[in-house]
């Protein structure tokens, strides 16, 4: 009786210790919007529109230059609207994205992230159309928008 009492007690205590968390965040925490640029206008193609494309938001202090048609953007975690400006040579277009934000407790190790659900979009004239492939941005699925010029 005493032997069983001791052995099982020690095993349970060891289980309690090994059950402790390592406190490291091993999950994906980035919540991103995948943007895909499709240039159908021959004037823009001939002028090398994509090669000199830069993107920025008026709220940023910097801008990003992308030479490929696919890139990842980060929506503002502080507001329900984000404005992106697409500029290349003489062209300058604006995309205004309206969305809802959700503050989500991902895990004790990783803390909080912001999830987004896209409501609507407005854009200026050089952009022909804008198609949303995925309107929900989480850590598991990137948002996806196709922008046709």
């Amino acid at each position: 009786m005493k032997f069983i009492f001791r052995i099982v007690g020690i095993l349970l205590f060891a289980f309690m210790i090994f059950n402790c968390s390592d406190n490291r965040c091993n999950e994906e925490v980035d919540v991103l919007l995948k943007a895909e640029i499709i240039v159908n206008d021959p004037i823009l193609t001939n002028a090398g529109f994509l090669e000199t494309l830069s993107i920025y938001s008026p709220a940023w202090t910097d801008s990003v230059h992308y030479s490929s048609a696919n890139f990842m953007l980060e929506l503002s975690p502080f507001a329900d609207t984000t404005v992106f400006v697409f500029t290349s040579q003489a062209w300058k277009d604006t995309v205004k994205i309206f969305y809802e934000r959700d503050l989500v407790y991902l895990s004790q190790e990783c803390g909080f992230v912001t999830y987004y659900k896209i409501d609507s979009t407005r854009y200026t004239s050089t952009i022909d159309s804008l198609v949303w492939v995925n309107k929900k941005l989480t850590t598991l699925t990137d948002g996806h928008v196709k922008i046709y010029f």
């Binding site: 009786m1 005493k2 069983i4 009492f5 099982v8 007690g9 349970l12 205590f13 289980f15 309690m16 210790i17 059950n19 402790c20 938001s57 709220a59 940023w60 202090t61 910097d62 990003v64 980060e74 503002s76 975690p77 502080f78 959700d102 503050l103 989500v104 407790y105 895990s107 004790q108 803390g111 909080f112 912001t114």
Partner: protein
């Protein structure tokens, strides 16, 4: 006539002990989970040293201070159930199994939540207080042994199965009082209790 009365008494239900207990396993939190402070106690009433009606209650408080957020939670839990003693040879000790129905409620919130972005800079926000309720069932197997007169030490291995609440897609509790990690619907654990048996009807 007197003999008949004695036989009748043996067959009936007799309260053979009342124990009050304290969960001492929770004190390991000081070492392994310093962000959590929790207490739990129990009351069991034994019938014929065979069946025990058990009531447990506890309180848990969490203050998790991380680099990018501060999480605060406090809650209580209550359990009620039955234990069955399989021992015949040592009538004051216990080796047996039991089950519990458990309920827990907690309030949790977070502040100083910091976001840092290469383009958007730093931003602080907070999560307002939310209430979460959970219910689960437990099955246990354990031992209780008398270490001094009327003082018992016992441990039990427990499997807990949650059937209501405890989950929130947006604000999952860090820990459900009395249950454990909220992310799992099945929780396996152990209890370590010290009991005092009220000297009552003891033979």
């Amino acid at each position: 006539m007197a003999q008949k009365t004695d036989e009748k008494k043996k067959d009936g239900w007799e309260i053979t002990g009342i124990k009050i207990g304290m969960d001492v396993g929770r004190f390991s939190n000081f070492l392994f989970k310093p962000e959590q402070t929790s207490y739990a106690g129990s009351l069991d009433v034994g019938f014929n040293n065979k069946y025990f009606i058990i009531a447990e209650a506890g309180y848990s408080e969490i203050n998790l201070d991380r680099d990018n957020y501060n999480y605060i939670s406090d809650g209580t839990f209550y359990k009620i159930g039955l234990d069955y003693n399989m021992l015949k040879k040592y009538p004051t000790d216990f080796l047996g199994a039991g089950f519990r129905f458990a309920y827990s409620t907690l309030e949790h919130s977070a502040n100083n939540i910091r976001f840092e972005s290469e383009h958007w800079g730093s931003y602080y926000t907070e999560k307002e207080s939310e209430t979460n309720q959970t219910m689960w069932l437990e099955a246990s197997f354990g031992l209780k042994g008398e270490i001094f007169k009327n003082v018992y030490f016992g441990w039990s291995a427990i499997i807990k199965v949650r059937f209501y609440g405890g989950t929130d897609d947006k604000f999952q509790p860090y820990d459900i009082p009395g249950f454990g990690k909220a992310a799992n619907s099945i929780s396996i654990g152990a209890n370590y209790f010290i009991y005092y048996q009220i000297p009552f009807n003891r033979k």
